[in-house]
């Protein structure tokens, strides 16, 4: 389970709505607790795909490193990433799968006509052939 507090969900939703019709993206910081992951903070990033921002996003390695460093400073981990699918369902595309890393939680949410909708979380399996859905548990706060 990926445990997400309401205030963080609101921030993710707001990021997706603000950047609509472009895709938004950011890092999920948190900690592992047994089989669960608890999200304790976010780091929004600017989408680097200026050539095709409506259906693509990318985060540069220096930004990934920055998120790692920030997590370390806060005593937590960089546990995954969120991004929006403007006017598309909250499940990973083939392009998402081809570019995914194992282990990270990939939170994807639909933004339909500028309004944030369904949010789901996914993890790539170890042979890279498919994603497994990871349930999201909504919590009061982390």
């Amino acid at each position: 389970m990926l445990k997400l507090g309401h205030s963080l969900i609101e921030k993710i939703h707001a990021h997706g709505e603000r950047d609509y019709p472009n895709e938004c993206c950011g890092a999920l910081l948190g900690r592992e607790e047994g089989a669960d992951r608890i999200v304790t903070g976010l780091m929004p990033f600017a989408n680097q795909r200026g050539d095709s921002p409506k259906n693509r996003f990318s985060i540069a390695p220096l930004d990934v490193q920055m998120a790692e460093d920030e997590a370390k400073k806060k005593g937590c981990n960089l546990i995954g990433w969120y991004h929006s699918h403007p006017d598309a369902p909250a499940r990973p595309s083939e392009f998402d799968r081809e570019h995914a890393w194992p282990w990270y939680s990939y939170v994807i949410f639909q933004v339909e006509k500028g309004e944030a909708r369904e949010m789901r979380s996914w993890r790539l399996n170890e042979d890279r052939t498919r994603y497994a859905e990871e349930g999201i548990e909504y919590i009061a706060s982390a």
């Binding site: 993206c25 259906n55 693509r56 540069a60 403007p86 598309a88 595309s93 890393w101 282990w103 170890e126």
Partner: protein
Amino acid sequence: MAVKVVIPTPLRQFTAKQESVDLEAKTVGEALNSLTSRYADLRKHLYSEDGRLRSFVNVYVNDEDIRFLQKEKTALTQGDTISIVPSIAGGAGR
């Protein structure tokens, strides 16, 4: 040359949780080869089927991107640190 390869968090499950791996190599290609023969499950995450490094896998030698050096032919010297750093990409559709 004795060098160190720094493993990013998402790949540490394949290196027995080690944050870095020490090995002997003369080039970056050799180092990655040695790494992926020691930890075979890493291979498909670093390389595509045609044997090339995946586009979202970034490799640095002491903070210098190997794309701006001699790529996998980049020569190593004793004590070099090779870092594998993810970039994150995706998007809806296709």
